[in-house]
Amino acid sequence: MAETVVPVTHEPTPEETHLRHHFATPEQQMDAATLGMWTFLITEVLFFGGMFAGYAVYRGMYPDAFASTSRYMNLVLGGTNTAVLICSSLTMALSVRAAQLSKRRDLILFLILTMIFGTIFLVIKGFEYHDKWVEQLVPGFNFRYDEAIQYAHNAQILFFLYFAMTGMHALHMVVGLGLLTFLLVQANRRVFHANYFAPVEMIGLYWHFVDIVWIFLFPLLYLIGQNR
């Protein structure tokens, strides 16, 4: 951490804080952005919530069929990915901190680290999808479930949910990586500093939210039936 904190010696100008015409103060602008972002995240909670409701209903209906899928879930890859995402959340939080302290080089470093972790996650996810395809576990495309034939029908529901939920999560990761790229470009252009870091913070909130979704997907998809 070579750079030092630039002390704010003057009242920030509207240009510095990117104050838009319809706001009275930078504080009002920041408050509005924060509330807006959280409101958006609530919509995301309910969006994923629909699939979690489906999961809960069918797990209650077909507990044994759901548990029978455990031997096809790769606990090592799933666990690694969980850890990778947690690391990316830490570096994201550190990015926000760096932006707040006007530490440009740190900001760029942590953003790049976050993106690397995000990419690792997606690559691992890709390998898992590939394995599922090879093992013929993709509902509607090549589904065969020979081992526990009595569960073949109902286990398809779990695999459908697996692909729908992790797929939707991966899609959010891809969007997140796009947003991080945008931040990186802006950070490189010295846009962010102690008086203006709202985009870093808002995209950070989004990134953490995507992490939280995975925190629930991991036990619900990978850890059921592991006790058998």
Binding site: W38, L41, A56, L90, R97, P219, I224, Q226
Partner: protein, 110 residues
């Protein structure tokens, strides 16, 4: 700006706890606790999610209004999950005999 600037130490501590909790939940899943496996897994997941929200996302340092919004979102998720579940839970309860002398049978086959 009067934003809260987090310290590095709590961030790293939260990160470490999250990694440890991931290990715990994976390990516990191998032990047969019957129906309690899912309960433990969910408690750990909720704990992890709360840590992320409380510290990484800074809910701790936000306004009451933001906290209220977060809670409202979760309550609404709860409404959806619970009422939907209530249908599936009670769908196979059946009347036996006359409604005024009915007994309940819980569960049933699907």
């Amino acid at each position: 700006m009067t934003a809260h600037i987090p310290k590095v130490r709590p961030l790293v501590l939260v990160w470490a706890s999250l990694i440890v909790l991931t290990g715990i939940t994976s390990a516990v899943s191998k032990i047969d606790l019957g129906e309690w496996n899912v309960v433990v897994a969910l408690i750990i997941a909720v704990t992890k999610a709360s840590l992320v929200a409380w510290i990484f996302m800074g809910v701790r340092y936000t306004t009451t209004l933001t906290k209220l919004f977060v809670v409202a979102g979760l309550v609404w998720l709860g409404i959806m999950l619970l009422i939907t579940a209530s249908d599936y839970k009670s769908r196979n309860w059946t009347y036996q005999g006359q409604p005024w002398s009915q007994t309940k049978t819980v569960g049933g086959s699907h």
